[in-house]
């Protein structure tokens, strides 16, 4: 539902950008004066930076908090720009982009999904890796079942894992295979993305979930996170690239540079993401 809304919204934004692009700067200023705040995005263009307009960033749902924060910071640093987000599982986002959803930047939680979009010819330039992540187990507050390892997950009645098309699901399956653990299908509830998977434990009645370290850090009093040792963990790297056909390549590039730059990396690492390299 959220995705649909974002699409609609970005369609509106898009039409505004296009018409603004067609006009000369003077005309934009006039229009801005006439329409007031609705085209305020164009008024500051003449003042400082060349950045203006808006882009939609389709990003893995594990990036929700960090990108939300970075978006606000970016807009504050470049008044007149709007960064909209469409968060979802990287698998779902990849399909959306291939089917022509209006996205300007794709930030995937795994190279595989980026590769799919790239193979379909929907990416312009080379994707850059901007962060890495790994997995952790989250259980109910107080860890009533005494779960300490991946093998202990079989003590649980219900384990929440992402669908295998989402990177968090694919890596969780790899981690379980690495540890030689098989959880019966009848015990697994599938989350469409990492946020929903975590919510099955924090707001629902699932006993445990396998999620990213960055999500596990956010549980607060609603759960306990249990680390998975590096030998059994499956790290994943996050690539980001500009989507072919973007109407605002300047802003898209600026956003990618911002995320890979000092501020971007500081915010991401504060959210427990690992540095890209």
């Amino acid at each position: 539902m959220r995705k649909v809304d974002m699409r609609k919204e970005s369609a509106v934004i898009r039409s505004r950008t296009r018409s603004a692009g067609a006009l000369s700067l003077a005309a934009v200023a006039l229009a801005a004066a006439a329409c007031g705040s609705s085209s305020s995005s164009s008024t500051t263009t003449t003042a400082a930076a060349k950045l203006s307009g808006s882009i939609t960033v389709s990003a893995a749902s594990s990036l929700t908090a960090a990108f939300g924060q970075l978006g606000t910071k970016f807009q504050a640093a470049h008044p007149g720009t709007t960064i909209s987000f469409n968060f979802g599982s990287s698998g779902a986002l990849a399909i959306q982009i291939q089917q022509g959803a209006p996205a300007d930047v794709f930030a995937s939680a795994a190279p595989a999904n980026m590769a799919t979009v790239q193979a379909a010819g929907d990416i312009s330039g080379t994707p850059v890796t901007f962060a890495r992540n790994s997995l952790e187990i989250v259980v109910k507050p107080g860890n009533p079942l005494g779960i300490q390892t991946l093998a202990d997950l079989n003590k649980a009645n219900v384990v929440a894992i992402c669908v295998n098309t989402a990177p968090c699901g694919a890596t969780a399956a790899q981690a379980l295979a690495k540890a030689g653990v098989t959880i019966p299908t009848a015990k697994i509830t599938l989350g469409p993305d990492v946020d929903h998977t975590l919510a099955a434990v924090t707001t629902g009645d699932a006993d445990a979930a396998i999620v990213y370290v960055t999500n596990a850090k956010t549980v607060g009093t609603q759960g306990v996170s249990i680390p998975i040792p590096a030998s059994k963990n499956v790290p994943t790297s996050y690539p980001m690239a500009m989507v072919k056909g973007t109407e605002n390549p300047t802003l898209a590039q600026a956003w990618i540079a911002y995320v890979t730059g000092t501020t971007g990396q500081k915010v991401l690492q504060a959210a427990s993401f690992l540095p890209a390299h």
């Binding site: 698998g91 219900v158 299908t185 009848a186 697994i188 629902g204």
Partner: protein, 267 residues
Amino acid sequence: MATRTRSLRPPLFILIVATLTVAFLAVPLIGLLSKASWSTLWSDLTNPVAVDALKLSLICSLWATGLSLVFGVPLAWVLARTTFPGRNLVRSLTILPMVLPPVVGGVALLLAFGRDGILGRPLYDWFGVQFTFSTAGAVLAETFVAMPFLVVTVEAALRSMDGRYEEAAANLGAGRWTTFRRVSLPMIAPSLVAGTALTWARALGEFGATITFAGDIQGRTQTLPLAVYLALQDNEHVAVALSLALLAISIVVLVSLRGRWLGAIVS
């Protein structure tokens, strides 16, 4: 009445809009049919995940319909035949799940029947009963969302029914239960059938409350709509095949009801 039948030719504008509306409703279905991969349809529908989802959907929706009949018909009768303070409030409460976003319904169910919920906690602590992530939970979610359709349809039928038949039966010495069973129920039968079918169709299509409250476990809570949603990201042709199965079931319901039965909903 006479004036209504005479105006056979509608204004052109209305005709155009009506045509567009039909197109709007029909084109997505055509899209579904055009995307279907007919050669793999059978294997798509018979893979273990699809079979589990089909079976589970039938079981859960039939249970939800049965529960709606058992609990919904008496409520409809009370709402139609008795007066008590706060009756309108009760009716609004009954209809609320119809207009509530199903996901919100799922969250509400979690807070009531989840392991930490108002009723869920004592149920779990005392009897070890857990609805969340169980087939019973999926049935509960479907019943919550679908039952109002039955209550509303049956109540409307009871209201529009000629009350003199019930009076006559009572005057002839029939008890209240006999009157209800032998007079009221047969007279509202068409609406009862229509309401039951609507309720069943709504239960069969339930998604939001189920995934929120009961999760998405293959063979346990993963009903057809949930399977469609997951398949969409993985195997689009499987998603289309499952959607076609749901569409076929819906058409069968509509056709078997015919205009006569559907007319009962409107009355």
